[in-house]
Subunit: 342 residues, 4 copies
């Protein structure tokens, strides 16, 4: 942390800054500039101290954090890659993982046919939502408990591990009984009550990036899960909110290499929610894989025209099959063949 004093700050103001540095357990190094003092705050945990602690002191012109605000999610904390294992699948290793399925669980038949089809095309994890966060109270809210039952049956039928969303801290235990991976949606990224419950689990969690969360805030949020003892955290980029309206969200494909550089956690990409339209999904899926993503989550529906939610961004079985062929060839071209079921 670097504290820049105003030109003309008094010795007393400088002393108050130094005294606060010491009270927080850090060391000071004083830089005497041509027209002002600059105080360097030294210590390995300065990233976790709010800059406000100094900015609020009289005579301070600006405060700059140098250490990152996240800690447990950082590559400094754990230099090697975290690999999350679920069923026979390893997320974060050399082979990218394709997860697929419908937005919402709608019926046992819908889930069973989808699971069998996406498995046949090469997906190794099944997605499907029982509890749905919807912008409007008048929209379909998911099948709830009945949806969980369907997921349980289809999982038994196909052997595919299942990822599904949890929205309410009171439902974590119930969802965890069925889900192999619990998903935190973008709108709940900073639902700290929910995160604390999930941190206490010993099951993998997919943490979607908030619509307007910086990568740094996203990794800070991962720290909530890691700090409670859950090491199996998978990050998921799903598009951010910008001024552009041609797509539902703007896929921030740069988040993949940025996360890979700064964190040990695996990062997957959801091209479906970013695009908002099935015609754009293949391009974004390929871009994400080429950028280095550890996996993709893709929405697939037996009949998108009749889907109860997100039909427009869902691929049909045949479109998904074609995309998988392209992704397999792409994985080979990248030297990172797609993961297959053992």
């Amino acid at each position: 942390m670097i504290v820049e004093m105003r030109a003309g700050a008094s010795q007393e103001q400088l002393d108050a800054v130094i005294s606060r540095v010491h009270s927080l357990g850090f060391e000071v190094l004083l830089n005497v500039g041509t027209d002002k003092y600059v105080v360097a705050v030294l210590g390995s945990n300065t990233g976790q101290v709010a800059t406000d602690a100094f900015a609020v002191l009289p005579g301070v012109a600006s405060v700059t954090r140098i250490m990152r605000s996240y800690k447990l999610a950082s590559r400094e904390f754990r230099p090697g890659n975290t690999v999350v294992r679920v069923g026979g699948v390893a997320i974060g290793g050399p082979n990218p993982v394709i997860m697929a399925g419908p937005c919402s669980v709608e019926s046992e038949e819908q889930m069973a046919t989808t699971a069998q089809s996406v498995k046949a095309s090469g997906a190794v994890v099944l997605r499907g939502g029982a509890f749905k966060p919807r912008s409007s109270p008048f929209s379909f809210q998911g099948l709830g408990d009945q949806g969980l039952d369907i997921l349980r049956q289809v999982k038994a039928l196909t052997g595919l591990p299942v990822v599904t969303e949890v929205m309410d801290p009171r439902q974590v235990a119930e969802v965890a009984e069925v889900a192999d991976i619990l998903q935190v949606g973008a709108r709940n990224m900073q639902n700290f009550a929910l995160l604390r419950e999930l941190g206490r689990l010993r099951q993998p969690v997919i943490l979607k990036r908030g619509l307007s969360a910086t990568i740094e805030e996203w990794l800070e949020t991962a720290d909530y899960l890691l700090a409670e003892g859950n090491d199996d955290v998978i990050l998921c980029e799903r598009g951010i909110r910008t001024f552009e309206t041609a797509t539902r969200f703007t896929l921030d494909v740069s988040a993949v290499p940025v996360v890979k550089k700064n964190s040990h956690l695996p990062v997957v990409v959801d091209p479906s929610h970013a695009a908002g339209h099935y015609e754009l999904v293949p391009s974004l899926a390929k871009a994400a894989l080429a950028a280095g993503a550890d996996g993709l989550i893709i929405e697939v529906h037996p009949n998108p025209v009749e889907a109860l939610s997100d039909g427009l961004q869902s691929l049909t079985f045949s479109d998904f099959g074609r995309l998988m062929d392209e992704l397999k060839a792409l994985g080979e071209g990248l030297g990172r063949p797609l993961q297959t079921l053992a």
Copy 2:
């Protein structure tokens, strides 16, 4: 809703669109353009149907919603202004309301002195957080239950109604015992589990706008509260996330007249969180009042330099007193004198 078919769409595709319109209970009016069909979907609830329901159909080029997606919060639904009454205070009427207090409840003494000071300066509601949402798990998380106890005592002492945040659906009942107004923070704007619990209460709720929520999404979220039967909803603009970094958030002051035009709900402004710096708070407070806000929520602390959270954006008692003098003069100039305690 307007459904534009692609040039060259088939009669069968057109029929499928018309059939879906009828199945949703709406009327069709067909526009035969020079080179394409345009289908108008008529009915008073078309705003609550996702555009995807049509966009997903083959042969459709684009779908445009004309009706708003929110309903209960709209001025069409209730033409007159909603006025929320709490203690002797009326929010949404002709006289703007000033709410003030610290970011976090830190001690009884801190709350008592602040409450007495802001009351003396003209504030009519006391703010203070017992449960604090913090980006990092390593930051101060609020005093919790002890904080609620302190709020109870200070309320008894000063008679000021209290607004405080609730973050967890399991804590709603407990917080509601103390709070006169329950606040939903920006990061929880779309925490639907929490919103449903609050909708079942019969106590006023302040719904802060999400960091990247459009005004339309914000009003849609208010519908969650209204649909459960809670009519006492107060909206609060607190800055949105943009590319600009000179302020913590960008205060969207235009949200005030836009909400006033489209909704019957009262709208207040939090200049402190938007600014992120005490030096900017007075300008933004005055701008919000001049734009037509029904009230302001301002952070005040007996000693910002020692505050456990948000000290940098908190006003001292004397700064707040000076600002209140300016706001009173401004209210007179605007023909909207500030509300005083009965």
Copy 3:
């Protein structure tokens, strides 16, 4: 500037950083942290050196600029307020200035009636565009030279100083013959060829903020004008591009106090372009004045329904008259009465 070395950076890498600091004429102060070196670069012009000069060196983890990148526009450079004088009007002094007129010059009659009406209501500068930047080549592009002639005549008729836009460096001399203030539009904020020509003039320039320019970049751009010797620069906030679509742009009202704190230049606000709709203009105009703006530029048209451009955001004469009454009362309430013609 603070250069943070990676943990484990070599002595040779550190020496290369120090050597570059010296080659740029700055001083070094070395901070030896617990696990890494931090190099403080000291000197009064470090703000004008790109951080890349150091970030590119091997072993460097991050570089943080502490000094601002703009210089001539900063309050450090000139502590007192710059007051721009044109005709009998002073922009940047204690009394806010109202400028008004149509988006485009359409005819002599349109300009003459508008000028007389806004003058009668209290405006002291006339606006009107002869050259119009339009997103589409198929839109009305302005009357050009004929528009300049009309401005000349109406100026002679009413005595009001005139502000008009210039878009092309080849037209600066011609526009400067008629205009009292030359305006650089938002889309040309970083048209450096144009800025250099305007910097060589000795006439006031209004520099509109780019749609996605940070306040810092805006002030850096003002440096282009100031560096060429033109001191009469007026900044104009006109809304930035964000995700919100309820308004044409998002008025960043916070820019007013931020500019006032960091720069000596006057700052005015254009509520019309930000709002995009006449119903929102009065609220934003009042907010801007209350925030401390040195003036407002408001679009007024004799018959907005027939305007050739921007009719939707233009006020009628009577709406403008009513708004002026409110602004006068507001100016009194703020202790900053509006400026009147001598």
Copy 4:
């Protein structure tokens, strides 16, 4: 165009809308809803009429444009792909094109060694800036005419076609003598005076997307070039401005499939300016190629540490060589092998 009247709008107001529709040469179809009128405006050029033309009329609640605002750049206007040919290179055909070179022309030796190296690695177009747009007047502004001379010599030496930026309408002729492709930078995307000059040329132009331009506005701007008769327009995505600060800009990789869907023009990607850091460039380059880009523009410098501009985002010769090997393998995996010199 769809004009929605307010509930309760009068017959007279409706008639005024219909009359304006007819005066613009369009047809009307009237939709009588349950509680309001909706007027469909029919005709093939409605996209080029501003929505304001109707929104400004009394009794109108909202206006929605259905036709796109751009025309000549649209795929409706020209269904097949435009292929731009320069030297022996075809941009927009089946084989992606790699362009490379330094940000700025710094010396003959720098350009000659770079051109020979990138050519050996497989680049088919050379980039290098003689005139540089810089945020600050105190930064290096390019070698200007001397830079053009160097480009001429290096072009003769290597036979590579050259792309270079032009910023000033007065310099178009001079730059066009040397450049095979003239580049319009992001900050000049809406510099209409410059665009008109370039539209009159018969040489290819690269039009970079503005920092905050929507894809629709970008294509509207391409219409300026096309309307003047220059058909050889290449679009270039180079990152947009968002709230994220981990990268210099946010690469909007979705722009590639969106442009491909809606326009016949080729689209290339500049991963260097988007990333802002050499470590991120390879990921973004691969993502862009996988998304379907017609080419890439990559910054390469013999010694980035000593570059006069943008060193941090420049690749060394060996890094570029490694990336080219990856891009070649990726192109094969995608079924789109990179273009080579004849």
